[in-house]
């Protein structure tokens, strides 16, 4: 945990000076706030013995009223400036930390391999980068502003009580531990209740989410009342728990008030006794004693300050405790080491598109018992068209993911252009092995900005050409603004087929040696599908093409078809060969032939 916190604090970087300077100003503010009641006490004492206009500047007992007023004014100004600067630098430091942290997390995520990514769920990553960072920002701000200030206030005020009040300071020495213990008990109990109830609260909100997204199911099955009852009882339960927690928290106020009031009574009682027994009355005021009336009222102020800073300390404790979970989650991501890294002295060029799998075994997690792929062995020559077929979960995607080193093999080796993929520079390898993923994603922006992912410097001509090959030209042409047309988040303003074709165009623009289409034409009709394949073949003959498909029609003219079953290669051959010899292939063919064939 300490390491995680250290790691998070590393992101302070250029804001370190602000983070350091803030507590200094806070100390300044605290010092003024502590000293002021003392001076104010003197001030009031002096005012009370004023006798005429000249007595503003002269006094026998101490500092004249006029100067005291100036001193106080000066102190207020210092306190104000310290407060403003402290607040400002605290903001800069904490917001800066959060901003750096977000940027660092983003870069960290970008450095992750697929294996790393699979570990975290998408929604948890979003939470880590938003809510959790926000919690850290608040906790950090609290830290630099108050963690030093509050204990200092406590100590300052405590010292002042002894300076100004002599033995009266012991009132607080006795009270503080009792209050601290009381606060500790309250917080401990309340925290227990609240951590429990917050979990339930999250669950309740999840069920609301289910209802919002699944409203059609709820209504179709007429389950409105059922859901209402479910929600009601969950909500009632949470409410009860919340109230239980709040009842504990509500003890806070009486505890503090009792302490403050008790100290007041003790100060007045003891103070009166000390004054009456040690001082003498000079006709206007008590003088010469161990305590003056002004000091007595200053003591009351210090008492409140001591107990308030105690309360603040307890609040910080709660906040820090709450933010620890967030820090843990952020630290987890920061600590995660990318499993796939660039080798030393990497190969910077891929010359051909040949692919060789030599007895490859693969599992997603090292602790998993079952291999996702076992003994995969096949060889592809540069420029070939390879089809991959198999039912869901048979390992098709796993195989192709190894080529661009999205995952590393567990045993065996994968060669591209005769070299082990682990020897290549990652960027070089991935630029030369273009994958159109099963889950196609376009990013918000324009069609052009999305296509340029393939090649930053692509000209309009090149983009149009890629679109032509991918049969996406008509999509671009149908839009008024052509390549500049807007793409909404997740490409929600395009149909599935349109998205797939644009994704293929994007991949073509990379001008790779090997192109992998992972079920990327599923929403495209057979005719267009055929045209895409034709385009790839004719316009990019040198490029190795690996196509994973559900439809036999998409791959029947491949040079080789690999039939996958249960993580193993069931057969390799051409369409005709497989139709004759392979049962799975024949079965799939027959099913689909019933779909598309009986004319």
């Amino acid at each position: 945990m300490i390491e995680k916190i250290k790691l998070i604090l590393k992101s302070v970087r250029e804001y370190k000076k602000y983070a350091i300077i803030t507590p200094i100003f806070m100390v300044g503010e605290a010092a003024m706030e502590c000293a002021m009641p003392f001076i104010m006490g003197m001030f009031v004492d002096e005012i009370k013995i004023l006798s005429g206009p000249e007595s503003f500047f002269h006094t026998e007992t101490g500092i004249p009223v006029f100067y005291l007023a100036l001193i106080l004014l000066g102190m207020a100004i210092i306190s104000l400036l310290c407060g403003i600067w402290g607040g400002k630098f605290a903001s800069i430091a904490s917001v800066g930390l959060a901003s750096n942290l977000r940027s660092d997390l983003y870069k960290k995520l970008a450095s992750f391999s697929f294996e790393n990514i699979d570990k975290f769920s998408a929604s948890s990553l979003v939470t880590r980068m938003t809510t959790d960072i926000n919690n850290v920002q608040n906790a950090f701000q609290m830290m630099i502003r108050i963690v030093i200030r509050a204990p200092l206030m406590l100590i300052f005020s405590a010292v002042m009580t002894f300076v100004g009040g002599g033995l009266m300071g012991f009132i607080f020495v006795a009270l503080v531990p009792i209050v601290a213990f009381g606060l500790f008990l309250i917080i401990r109990h309340a925290m227990k209740v609240f951590t429990r109830v917050f979990k339930k609260y999250d669950a309740l909100n999840e069920s609301v989410q289910e209802n919002v997204t699944g409203i059609r199911v709820v209504k179709a099955y007429v389950r409105e009342d059922f859901e209402k009852d479910k929600f009601s009882s969950a909500s009632d339960n949470i409410s009860k728990e919340f109230i239980l927690g709040e009842k504990i928290v509500a003890l806070n106020n009486p505890l503090m008030n009792t302490a403050i009031h008790l100290s007041n009574i003790l100060i007045i009682g003891l103070g009166t006794w000390i004054i009456a027994s040690t001082a003498h009355f000079d006709g206007k005021d008590w003088v010469g004693g161990q305590l003056s009336l002004g000091q007595m009222s200053a003591l009351i102020t210090y008492g409140i300050q001591i107990l308030m800073s105690l309360m603040m300390i307890s609040m910080i404790m709660v906040m820090l405790a709450l933010s620890i979970e967030s820090m843990k989650r952020i630290g987890e991501v920061l600590q995660e080491e990318p499993t796939i890294k660039n080798p030393e002295n990497p190969i910077m060029e891929v010359k051909s598109g040949s692919v060789d799998f030599n007895h490859v075994n693969f599992k997603y997690k090292s602790e998993a018992e079952k291999y996702a792929l076992s003994d995969i062995d096949f060889h592809i020559k540069s420029g070939q068209f390879i089809g991959v077929l198999g039912s869901t979960g048979s390992g098709k995607t796993s195989v192709v993911n190894l080529i661009s080193r999205l995952y590393d093999v567990t045993e065996g080796e994968v060669l591209v252009d005769g070299h082990n993929v682990k020897e290549y520079d990652l960027k070089t390898l991935r630029d030369n092995v273009s994958v159109v993923l099963q889950k196609n994603v376009l990013f918000s922006g324009t069609i052009e900005s999305n296509l340029k992912w393939g090649n930053e410097h692509a000209t309009e001509e090149e983009m149009m050409k890629a679109c032509k090959i991918a049969q996406a030209l008509e999509i671009v042409k149908a839009k008024e603004e052509g390549l500049k047309s807007k793409v909404e988040q997740g490409g929600s303003n395009l149909s599935g087929g349109q998205k797939q074709r644009l994704c293929i165009a994007r991949a073509i623009l990379k001008n790779p040696k090997i192109m992998i289409l992972d079920d990327s034409t599923s929403a495209v009709d057979t005719k267009t599908d055929r045209l895409i394949r034709k385009g790839l073949k004719e316009d990019l003959p040198e490029m190795t093409k690996i196509v994973i498909a559900q439809r036999i029609s998409s791959i029947e003219d491949a040079d080789q078809i690999i039939v996958m079953d249960n993580g193993m290669i069931n057969a390799i051959g051409t369409h005709e060969e497989l139709l004759k010899s392979n049962e799975i292939y024949r079965e799939v063919y027959q099913t689909q032939n019933r779909v598309g064939g009986d004319k």
Binding site: V44, V212, I268, L293, G490, D525, T591, G596
Partner: protein, 655 residues
């Protein structure tokens, strides 16, 4: 359909506070009154204790001047208000103690009561919102971003909590303290009060200035935050694409750009918030010094002091000391209160905006239902007559009461007719035009067409998720508007495009179809849907918990579960909307056996992407832009060599 934007963050509708307070008062009048009384006692206690503290010092001075023991015997002590008490320090401490005890008790009572009231109110409010939401028409969910609806239950409710539990008592407290303190100050000295009033005006100006700027940047910050969160979400969902295209650096650059923008707004907003406290606090300090000096001047220069009581305390040497101390204490209390309140301003603004959005949901028009025809289970006798029964049989009848009170039953057969139906989502653009469909009992009707052609819309009209604009839909000869909505939907078993599951066990999710179904019936349904095999391989079989929308299952497995759910519902009419789209062709063949069994003897509406699924339908409707352009059996349509033929032979694209 573009989602309607919810009310912008930071703006509340007028009258929101009034509505919230009214509801609050209606639900918990006594608790609120009790809290208010305790709050008054609390404030009064705080102030009067200061008065008694100053009285104690006055008594001490008095005892000195009279040269008596301050603790025993009584002697006259003149208070700063001009009245004289015969007392001593001991008595005063005892009174003070009593005031404190009352104050502590009052403060504990109102804190506790308000906390309880807050949570009870939020609970009621939340339940009311949820119950209302469940009754809203589908259209509401189409037109509002789901994230925004969700945030009503989290962020917005939370702002209401803050408002009721903190800002509201604080507002009242500030008001009370101001009144008390102002009165006391006026009684003492009008001149000195003037100093405080001027300070108060400056403070208000600061709150308005700083607070206004702060909330302006706060809103900007929220917008920037939204952008950053959007980018994060998009990047994380597309992380694999980023990696495949080695776009890491470029994406990080873009992210840094908007992240920097957020930083600059957030810093400014945060600074303004942070500065508020020291500025207000030190205005309080300045006020303190000025008041003291003012008092000193009045005393020293023997200015004519004005006071509400007419009694000039300040120029009175005996009381001057105690009076100054008291007045200063009052001015400090006043400043602290305004300072505390200034912290609440932003919460009040946010709370009202949040409440406003929640009330918008509650004000939405509920789904209307004027139906009076009910669905009931019936038991057939041997002679062909039937009677209503409360047990679950496989036979149903429609039941309605004539005006003369007689009940009429009509056996449910599953004859559904759409007669020249028009429909529009927004009242302008027709999505369906002149659609007529005749589904006779036991027939299988299929819809084929591109996305957006209106296939799903038709099924959504049959179950009245939406109401038609023109034309008629009859179910066994009854206009569906006359059928109770719940009963209409109960008679339609639906497997929807989106397979939404709920948190709970697999068994509970299947049972969602019919709550009374036994475990055996659920397992039987799972077998029909071909889901049994994968379910028993789950870690805990049927008792496996599904979390967050069944994310631990594959899309295909979820579809199988939702088919099982429909199977257990055992409704006389079925609607299958892309029920097997995510199941691979081999598995689909197995599921098909199950669904065939499910369809047997039932009227069925099928929407499918794969034409193989609909080939054996009694009638296939080819839809294009809301019109039925071809209809007939598979063979008819192939023979027509029209759109269906082209789709079938793969010449056209469905999307």
């Amino acid at each position: 359909m573009p989602p309607v934007r919810m009310r912008e963050r930071g703006r509340a509708k007028k009258g929101t506070m009034k509505r919230i307070l009214k509801q609050l008062f209606k639900l918990y009048p006594w608790q609120l009154i009790l809290s208010l009384i305790c709050l008054i006692f609390n404030v009064f206690g705080n102030i009067s204790s200061s008065v008694f503290v100053s009285l104690a010092t006055a008594a001490l001075t008095e005892a000195g001047s009279k040269n008596v023991n301050p603790f025993i015997g009584t002697y006259p002590v003149t208070s700063t208000f001009g009245f004289t008490l015969y007392t001593n320090v001991t008595y005063l401490i005892i009174i003070l103690g009593c005031i404190y005890i009352v104050g502590i008790f009052a403060s504990w009572t109102w804190n506790r009561t308000m906390a309880i009231v807050t949570h009870k109110f939020l609970n009621e409010f939340r339940k009311k919102m949820f119950a209302h939401m469940e009754e809203l028409p589908i259209k509401y969910f189409d037109t509002h971003a789901h994230g925004a609806i969700m945030s009503l239950y989290t962020n917005d409710i939370d702002t209401i909590r803050q408002f009721i539990s903190q800002s509201l008592p604080n507002l009242i407290q500030t008001g009370l303290v101001s009144i008390f303190v102002f009165t006391i100050m006026m009684i003492t000295s009008v001149w000195m009060t003037l100093v405080v009033v001027v300070g108060f005006i400056i403070m208000l100006a600061v709150v308005k200035g700083l607070g206004g700027k702060s909330s302006k940047f706060f809103i900007k910050q929220q917008i920037a935050l939204g952008q950053v969160e959007g980018n994060i979400e998009e990047s994380i969902k597309g992380l694999k694409v980023i990696k495949v295209f080695t776009h890491e650096e470029k994406s990080a650059e873009e992210f840094d750009k908007i992240n920097d923008e957020l930083k600059s707004y957030a810093t400014t907003a945060n600074i303004h918030g942070n500065i508020m406290m020291p500025v207000m606090g030190n205005i309080g300090n300045f006020l303190y010094i000025l008041c003291a000096l003012m008092g000193a001047f009045i005393y020293v220069f023997k200015w004519k002091n004005l006071s509400a009581s007419g009694y000039d305390v300040i120029s009175n040497p005996g009381q001057f000391a105690g009076m100054i101390a008291l007045f200063l204490m009052m001015s400090r209390m006043f400043a602290n209160n305004v300072n505390q309140f200034s912290q609440q301003v932003i919460f009040i603004v946010m709370g009202m905006a949040g409440a406003s959005r929640c009330l918008d949901l509650i004000d939405e028009q509920k789904e209307t239902d004027d139906g009076y025809v009910y669905l009931c289970n019936v038991k057939y006798h041997k002679d062909g007559t039937f009677e209503e029964t409360s047990e679950h049989t496989h036979d149903y009848a429609w039941k309605y009461r004539h005006k003369d009170g007689t009940l009429e039953y009509r056996p449910l057969q599953g004859d559904i007719v759409l007669d020249q139906v028009d429909f529009s989502y927004d009242g302008n653009k027709l999505v369906l035009e002149d659609v007529s469909i005749y589904a006779h009992p036991g027939q299988k009707i299929a819809f084929v067409g591109a996305t957006g052609a209106g296939k799903t819309t038709i099924t959504n009209l049959i179950n009245r998720f939406y109401d038609i604009a023109d034309g008629k839909i009859r179910y066994d000869g009854i206009n569906i508007n006359k059928i109770k909505k719940a009963d209409l939907r109960k008679s339609l078993g639906m497997v929807l495009q989106d397979t939404n599951l709920f948190t709970g066990t697999v068994m509970e999710n299947i049972r969602y179809g019919r709550l009374e179904a036994t475990d055996e019936e659920c397992i039987k349904a799972a077998k029909i849907a071909n889901a049994h095999d994968f379910i028993i391989r789950l870690p805990e079989g049927y008792n496996t918990m599904l979390n967050g929308d069944g994310s631990n299952l594959s899309q295909g497995q979820r579809q199988l579960l939702s088919i099982a759910r429909a199977a257990v519902a055992d409704a006389p009419v079925m609607i299958l909307d892309e029920a097997t789209s995510s199941i691979d062709t081999r598995t689909e063949r197995l599921v098909q056996k199950g669904t065939d069994q499910l369809m047997e003897g039932r009227t069925v509406f099928v929407i499918a992407h794969r034409l193989s699924t609909v080939q054996n339908s009694d009638a296939i409707m080819v839809l294009d832009h809301g019109h039925i352009i071809e209809r007939g059996t598979h063979d008819d349509l192939i023979a027509q060599k029209g759109v269906y033929y082209n789709l079938y032979t793969g010449a056209f694209e469905l999307e």
